[in-house]
Symmetry: C2
Subunit: 318 residues, 2 copies
C-alpha cells in the first residue's frame, strides 16, 4: 500500500491522510493497521488529563518543548471533549500550541469525539499506532478528564499525568471522577495561586491512605505551566515512571494486554453483527419478538438461546 | 420471590432494597427483572438533561410538583455525574428536591455513576423497570448532559427535555454535545436573565435548519424554574409529545427496540465472556499470543479465526 510505504518513510502528508482515513472509519483501516503492525511499540505515550481550566494544553505545550529540546520526534493527539461545557479557553490554548506545528519535528492532530459513540478510544489507539509507525519518539495525548469515555482514552498511555488547578474544586470530589485510579503522576498547576499547596497536600494525603505496596506511588508535583515552572520536574517524573514500568516489565505487559483487547473487541463486534442480522431475520428472530411482546424477559430468552444451538447457527449464517 | 411480591404490592422498602440489589449488580438481578418483566410498560418516562448550572434539578422539582398535583405516583432517578467538575450546586439542589421525599407518592433515588464503566445506562434502565413495576405513573430521570455515557442514559426516556441557561455558553457549541439529536423539548431557563431570548432564538434557528419533515419538531420554551414560571407550558409540551408518539405508534416501537437491545447486550456479554476464557486458556489462545508478539495484526488474527470453526468450539466450551 503506497500510502503506508510513504508513512513508514516519514512522509507527513501520508500521515495526515492516513489519520483522516482512520477517523472516517474507512474500509481500508484493517489493511492499513495490519501493514504497520510489525512496526509498533517504539514510541513512548504520555497522557495528560484533568478538569477543564486546569491548564492541560499549556502543560502539554511545555512538555513538547522539553522533548523538542532533546530532538525527539513528537506526535500530539488532542481530544476535543464530547462536552463543550468546559469553557471557551480550549480553542485559544490549542491555537497557542500550534506554534509547534511550524516545527517539522512535531505533528499535532485534534480528534473530534462527536458521534464517536464510545469509539473514541478505538480511534485514538489507531491514530497513536499511525504516529508510532511514522517514527515518533514521544506521543502526547491530551483529553479533558470528564466522563468514562475520556478516561478510557487514557488506557493507551504508558504514563498518565493528571493535572488539576486550585480552582478545580473539591479534591475528594475530583478524585471520584476516577482520576485517582488512572494517575501515574499528579500535577497541581497554578502553584502561585491560593489553595494550590493545600490541594497538593490533600492529594498526597489521599495517596497515603491507599496501600500501594510495591506498586508505583504517584508523585504530586507543583507547577506553573504558564511560566514553564516545574516542567523539568514533571519530565523527570515521567522518566522515573518509565524506568519503573520497564524494570518491572509492566510496559510490555500493558501493551500486550492492549493488543489482546483489540482482538477481543474485533471478534465481539463481528459476533454482534451476526446477532443483529439474525435478530432481524434469522434464527434468533422468534426470541426477540417474544421479548418485545413482554412474553419472556431478555434473561429467559438468553437462557433459552444459550441452551440451544442457535448461536452456532447464527455464527454460520451468511 | 418475596421482595418482588412486596414490590408489586407497593411496598416502598422492597423498592429501595431491590434498587440497591440492582446497583450492586447482584446475582439475583436476572431473576428479579424476569419476575417483574410482564408488568412493564405502564409508566411514562421523562428525561431532563443539560449542562451544569442550567437548572435541571429545580425544573425537575417543579415538574414533579405538577405531577403530584394530579395525584400521579412519581419516581425520580437522579444520576450523579461521573465528573464532579459541574459545580458545587448539585448537592444543594438535590437536598432541596428532597422535600418531595416526605411525600409518600414520590420516590427519589440517586444513582452514582462511579465505577460503572459504561454500565450506567444499564443500571438506569433496570431501576426504571423497578419503578415501573412498582406502579409509578411518571418517572423522571435527571442527568448532566456531558459525555456519551450520560447521553446514553437518556435512551430510556419517552420524552427528553434539554434545558439550558443563558450562562450555558455558545449555543452552537452546546449543540455539538449531541443534545440537538436527543431533545424532544428545549427549555431555556432563567428567562429573566440577559441572553435568554437570544439563546431561544438561536436554538429555534437551528431547528429551522434541520429538516424534520413529518417528524416531531422540538418546541423551544422559555422558563424561570426558580419561580415555577413556564412549567405548566413544559408539562403541556410533554403531553403533546406523548400524544405525537402514541399517535404514530412510536412509543411502543421505541420500547420494543429497547427490549431488543437488552437481549442483544445479554447475548453479546455472554459471548464476550466465552472469548475471554478461551483467550486465556482455550482454542483462541495461540492467536492472542501471536497478536501480542506483533507477529500478526488483530485484523489478520480475526480473519483467521472467522475462517476456522474456532468460535463454535469457544461457544461449546465450559
Amino acid at each position: 500500500m503506497e500510502l503506508v510505504d510513504s508513512l513508514l518513510k516519514g512522509d507527513r502528508r501520508a500521515l495526515a491522510r492516513l489519520i483522516t482515513i482512520v477517523e472516517n472509519g474507512d474500509a481500508a483501516v484493517p489493511s492499513i493497521l495490519t501493514a504497520i503492525y510489525p512496526k509498533l511499540g517504539r514510541a513512548y505515550v504520555v497522557g495528560v488529563t484533568g478538569p477543564p481550566g486546569a491548564g492541560k494544553s499549556t502543560l502539554a505545550d511545555n512538555v513538547i518543548e522539553i522533548w523538542r529540546g532533546r530532538k525527539y520526534a513528537v506526535g500530539a493527539v488532542l481530544i476535543d471533549p464530547s462536552s463543550p461545557f468546559s469553557g471557551g479557553a480550549i480553542l485559544g490554548d490549542r491555537i497557542r500550541m500550534q506554534r509547534h506545528s511550524l516545527d517539522e519535528g512535531v505533528y499535532i492532530r485534534s480528534l473530534g469525539s462527536r458521534g464517536s459513540h464510545g469509539g473514541l478510544s478505538r480511534y485514538t489507539r489507531q491514530v497513536v499506532q499511525l504516529l508510532d509507525a511514522f517514527g515518533m519518539d514521544r506521543i502526547l495525548i491530551e483529553t479533558v478528564g470528564v466522563g468514562q469515555t475520556e478516561l478510557d482514552v487514557m488506557e493507551v498511555a504508558d504514563t498518565t499525568v493528571v493535572i488539576m488547578g486550585p480552582e478545580s474544586g473539591d479534591t475528594i470530589q475530583t478524585m471520584k471522577a476516577g482520576l485517582m485510579e488512572i494517575a501515574d503522576i499528579f500535577v497541581v498547576n497554578k502553584a502561585d495561586r491560593e489553595g494550590a499547596s493545600r490541594m497538593a497536600a490533600e492529594i498526597s494525603a489521599m495517596i497515603e491512605i491507599r496501600e500501594y505496596g510495591d506498586e508505583w506511588r504517584p508523585p504530586v508535583l507543583l507547577c506553573q505551566a504558564n511560566k514553564a515552572i516545574g516542567v523539568e520536574e514533571l519530565d523527570n517524573a515521567i522518566s522515573q515512571h518509565r524506568g519503573y514500568l520497564e524494570e518491572h516489565d509492566l510496559r510490555e505487559s500493558h501493551r500486550r494486554a492492549l493488543r489482546r483487547n483489540e482482538l477481543i473487541e474485533l471478534i465481539a463486534r463481528y459476533f454482534r453483527g451476526k446477532v443483529l442480522n439474525s435478530a432481524d431475520a434469522g434464527a434468533l428472530e422468534p426470541y426477540f419478538k417474544r421479548v418485545e411482546n413482554l412474553e419472556i424477559s431478555p434473561y429467559e430468552a438468553a437462557e433459552l438461546i444459550l441452551q440451544s444451538d442457535i448461536l452456532e447457527i447464527v455464527l454460520n449464517s451468511r
